[in-house]
Amino acid sequence: MVKKIERDTRKFRQIIRGKIKKELKKYITRGELIGKKGKDLVSIPIPQIELPYFKYGTEEVGGVGQGEGESGTPIGSDKGEPGAGTAGDQPGEHLLEVEMSIEELAEILGEELELPRIQPRGKKNIIEDKDRYTGIRRVGPESLRHFKRTYKQALKRQIISGTYNIQNPRIIPIREDKRYLSWKTTRSPESNAVIIYMMDVSGSMGDEQKEIVRIESFWIDTWLRFNYKGLESRYIVHDAVAREVNKDTFYHTRESGGTLISSAYELCIKMIEKDYPAMEWNIYPFHFSDGDNYVTDNDRCTQLLEKWLLPYSNVFCYGQVAGFYGSGKFFQDLNEHFPNEENLITSHINDKDEIYNSIKEFLGKGK
């Protein structure tokens, strides 16, 4: 039976969904959700939904409490009201933490940004066969014998036939009693996808720039994960040399020194060739930099892109954050060199407010 409350909970969740959708831009720019991410759920703080009514301005009210302390001793936290009013069980103005599955969040993101669903390319749709032991049958190998079922069957038979002795409860299964596990094969389509994040960590990339990268990649990750099950992520940082790091290091490393973007691209290509054959994988390299590359390196980069990276990738995304120094000329060079390249998307992210649009640029093509 469907419980009555489910209708009301569903309604409530719809309202929340609407709220989140409306405020999505705010959530995207603030990046506070990143810390709230669990394995499958994101916990989203939204202001308590309250119907308006005539009430006192809470801060003025004050009230009566019980406990120790001199006057001037703070009580409770500075947020919300410490239960003023009659009985002290009035809900304060707390934030409501709603849990939402990452899938649902991605769905909202998709709706709000009008992102098209991604079409996995080529024949990378692998149909995979999986065996799951879900059934029971009367014949099978002894190694798959289901002890409990067999025992039950034998017990039943013995009771019915009157051979069961309570004083000496010995159950001996015969062949008809035996039950075995059986399996069913399910076929599930699966497409493999990998995101390769590359970030410039040279001296010119400040903390704010990294924060932008972090937020942006959270949302990209959310969306792609929604489109591909079993998405893999790899991380590369580079200044004048590139190396692969784990996620944590990726966001927190800071190096100083010059910038050779080509080093990252070379590593990326190596990675793809070794682990992700382009025929079987959907590949998404994202590169974030302030565009302040060593001047003579730009040609090398465009070469690498043209020959290898672009053909390998579903789409290659380059996001340029505004740096304190330098020209940011790399952005310009890319666009000049590949004026009509379908597989390349470039985007400027000057501050946090632009993350929203930049996500839209990257993912808006449905590739």
Binding site: K3, G62, P82, V98
Partner: protein
Amino acid sequence: MGAKKFSTELKNLKYEIQEHAREFGLDFFKVIFEVLDFSQLNEIASYGGFPTRYPHWKFGMEYEKLQKGYTYGLQKIYEQVINNDPCYAYLLETNNIVDQKMVMAHVYGHCDFFKNNLWFSKTNRKMMDEMANHGMRIRRFMEKYGEEEVDNFIDTCLSIENLIDPHSQFIVRRNQKPRYNTIPKEIEEETVKRLKSKDYMDSFINPEEFIKAQKMKLEEKSQKRKKFPEDPEKDILLFLIGYSPLATWQKDILSIIREESYYFTPQGQTKIMNEGWATYWHSKILTQKCLKNNEIIDYADHHSGTLGSRPGVINPYKIGLELFRDIEDRWNKGKFGKEYEECDDFVKKKNWNRNLGLGREKIFEIRKLYNDINFIDTFLTKEFCEEQGLFTYEYNDKTKRYEISDRDFKKIKEKFLFALTNFGQPHIYVEDGNYDNRGELYLTHRHEGIDLKIEYAKDTMVNIHKIWKRPVHLQTQIGEKKVLLTYNGKEHTEKNI
């Protein structure tokens, strides 16, 4: 809802506790216990105790909150009891037996209070049926007029559900209208009556000023008669049901909300007393009658959990219980009356004992006649405040936090009573339903030193406008200046008056 079996063990417990409660003099409706698992209990609790209540998302929100609180082990509802005849009480399946005992005894305390307390005397004792009825009506409206539409209208109604007059049920109005309306008599033009007098005495017997003053009074009276409503109306919901241009189904929903609001009112009016009373009795019955030796620790643990308090929050269980005990003790020892009050020997006062033994009788009287306001007003003493460590707190603008401000008895009592008056909510009246002779609604907020939360007030006015469909005014005060807030259906304006 598949209720779990009320086991024989629980049944025996019920009879045992019921007997103890009777022996102590408690008087209650029949109690029907149901055993539920936590999600069933949470569901019922979300609906305020009524499984058949009308559908609305706010119950869903409540449910999510309770479920989450339970899952993370932050909170747990042990019991839920409904003011109804018979009284329904829900027990949590996973409670251990000591908890069940305690909860049952607690329930009998509540039930006695529901039945006997004056402030509950006007509540509908067949509310279980009535709520089901409400639910069905609203569901039917949803089928007919659309879920969205009805949902939105309920939102609007709930936003003003607190605009009722809890005392109105007890007041016999001076101008009580006769039940069957006979043809109204032509109102005679009243004139000032002069006393008979000789001509030369007239200016003394009917002095000029007096006649003038009387004339003014009469005029005022006839002015007032033209006003609508004649006196400021606190039951704004009633006024809106009567006079706003709503569809019949909308009026029906508004009156459902109003009825439920009145039903729940006494529970707010007597929160401290009601919980105090129930706690007093579960502690009495358990510690004196039916605890086994090996259950003491579990009981004490749970009981102290109920009474625990954080600074800045008054725990109604704690204060209620302590106050009832204090009163019982005082009346047992005769610590009241003129002689006691006027005694200024501290030691003598402390050791005062006239062995009257009136305590039990007194608390039974109190549970019958009082509500939280006069309970606190009459029985909160200076000694009690000191013993319980009560204080007042205020918001400190500089530090942006609430801080303890005082331990002065008078201030504590004043703050306490203020918080209880009108449930700590502002007093709002309908002043004029035909303001400016243009059918506009004029509301007054009786300012008592604390401003309204203006954004909330404005949003609420929007909702009232949805019902009244003509401009809505609210006279209030912001700081020192009196203002008139107006919402005309499109925009808010504010002007000083």
